[in-house]
Amino acid sequence: MTAAIQTTNLCRVFGALAAVDSLTVSIERGEVFGFLGPNGAGKTTTIRMLAALIAPSAGSASVAGYKLGKDDQQIRSRVGILTESPGLYDNLSAERNLAFFGRLYRVPDLESQVDRYLKLLGLWGRRQDPAATLSRGMRQKLAIARALLHEPEILFLDEPTSGLDPEAARLVREFIAELKQAGRTIFLCTHNLEEADRLCDRVAVFNSQLVAVDTPAALRYRLFGRKVVFHLLSMQPVFKEIASAFDFVQNVQVFENKLIVTLEDPEKKNPELVRALVSAGAHIQFIGEIKRSLEDIYMQLLETNRGTEAAGDINGKNKTVVEEKHG
């Protein structure tokens, strides 16, 4: 089975500015792929290229099995896109907005498809109202319905919860989670890292170039390792020595009555560690894992990237792009 999206050294230049520089990535069918990066990183440009709205300056890509630049119309009919702003016709009703776009996509059995999405997104009661009278959250949901109306193979979502109140954002997130359950391929651009962590199978950190791509868990491990915290009734210096003696332990820190151990594969190695500590007289109250947020990962990656970039500038070298794929 071919990848849903496959890019090879995809570039887009605006004058002297390289908005997207040598993007090589493969996104599997049914995958929710988070595309993270600061403002101006080239995320929207990437979406526009992949949705066949703008042409790449160099490189190649295939989307839904079609070649970008050659089969653009085919690609456009097989992808759905939620643009940064909903872009609705204010004077037209919610229903008519959908019907108009549905006809451009030549959606079969359009009427029932429109009704289905209006109901699915909780807009049925407002279907006759002009789009201008809908709340921001409802407009966003209507735009999502529009992007899904022709049942696209791949869905591009550009900041789907941006500017929404918490309730509306939650509704949109829940709907994306439902789409994920239904096996849709989703390319999600977001600044909301918690959202990406919760929804995405893999995330890419992008800043004109690909900084890193992996599952959130793998990125966490790669950057920070896995840390287990042992809450003890009382701390003895010997406990740190015992923990440090194991080969699989990378680092041990003591903070008050807590022993913080960085180690590989805690699911397998923890019992051994626990046995040794208990034998040495430790009273373990409870054990937990310290989980770094995706925000920590993102900030760390961008900082490293900026540092490498600056060093590259000084040395006249290109920055290193870290890309790994974990099955």
């Binding site: 949705a51 709205l53 703008i54 009919s77 896109i81 909903p86 004077n91 030549r106």
Partner: protein, 263 residues
């Protein structure tokens, strides 16, 4: 064709809910149709037609008046001054609608979702153009029909009506009118694709009427005399001009530039 018609329907649904656009689309044909009839009525009731002698009319007009008596000739002279008005309607209405078409989509941020659909640039532009072209041409033809009927009801002689329905007028209204509408649409689409403000688009696009106003004032001042030959040349010139403008407008509409330069 289906996608073109969808654009047309959407465009009309949007445009005709805009009261300002609706007013400008309806007001101009009404005014330009009523004005000659009102003047005809005012002059006729004052007996002015009888007093006007053929010798008062421009020399070239004498040939047109062959077979008409003095009053009929004067009536026809008066009405013929308004022929160019029926060429003004297909310039102004399409310009009003088309000038908003692209820039309006930009300002409401609806252009990107439309261009993300499988619609081709040609389908999109044809839809936009047809939506602006058709009301202008229909309003012109309707106005001309009302004008002719009104003149007949106001007691204008059959001989004069016959002249109004002569090849000269029919060519002007049925052929040159639509060709002017195509020109107006192309200019407005080009302007609308390049500017960022709907008001600027409308103000620039409406400049397309200047040559026609020049002709109108040239005619009423007696410097220009509109005859069949001139209308045929005008039609031929417009066919060439429209072909070039259509190609140029399509070339100027760069999906990418419009999306990436518009913030």
């Amino acid at each position: 064709m289906d996608r073109i018609m969808q654009i047309v329907r959407k465009e009309w649904a949007e445009v005709f809910r805009n009261r300002l656009v609706l007013f400008s689309v309806a007001f101009l044909p009404l005014m330009l149709t009523a004005l000659p009839l009102v003047i005809l009525g005012a002059v006729g009731s004052g007996g002015g037609m009888d007093e006007m002698m053929a010798s008062d009319l421009p020399g070239e007009f004498g040939q047109v008046c062959a077979g008409l008596d003095g009053a009929d000739c004067s009536q026809y002279f008066l009405l013929s001054q308004f022929m160019l008005m029926f060429m003004l309607i297909p310039l102004v209405i399409p310009s009003t609608i088309a000038s908003y078409s692209i820039v309006g989509e930009k300002t409401t941020r609806t252009l990107e979702p439309i261009l993300a659909t499988p619609i081709t640039t040609l389908e999109f532009l044809l839809g936009k153009s047809l939506a602006a072209f058709a009301p202008g041409v229909l309003a012109t033809w309707l106005g001309f029909g009302v004008f002719t009927t009104g003149a007949l009801l106001m007691g204008v002689g059959e001989a004069v009506i016959g002249r109004i329905l002569s090849p000269l007028w029919l060519l002007a209204v049925l052929v040159v009118g639509p060709l002017l509408a195509v020109m107006s649409v192309c200019v407005a689409i080009m302007v609308s694709s390049r500017v960022r403000d709907p008001r600027v688009a409308e103000q620039i696009s409406v400049l397309v009427i200047l040559p026609m106003l020049g002709l109108f004032f040239g005619q009423i001042s007696g410097l220009i005399y509109i005859n069949e030959k001139m209308i045929i040349w005008m039609a031929a010139g417009l066919v060439v001009l429209d072909t070039g403008l259509l190609a140029f407008a399509t070339h100027l509409f760069q999906r990418e530039s419009i999306l990436t330069r518009w913030k």
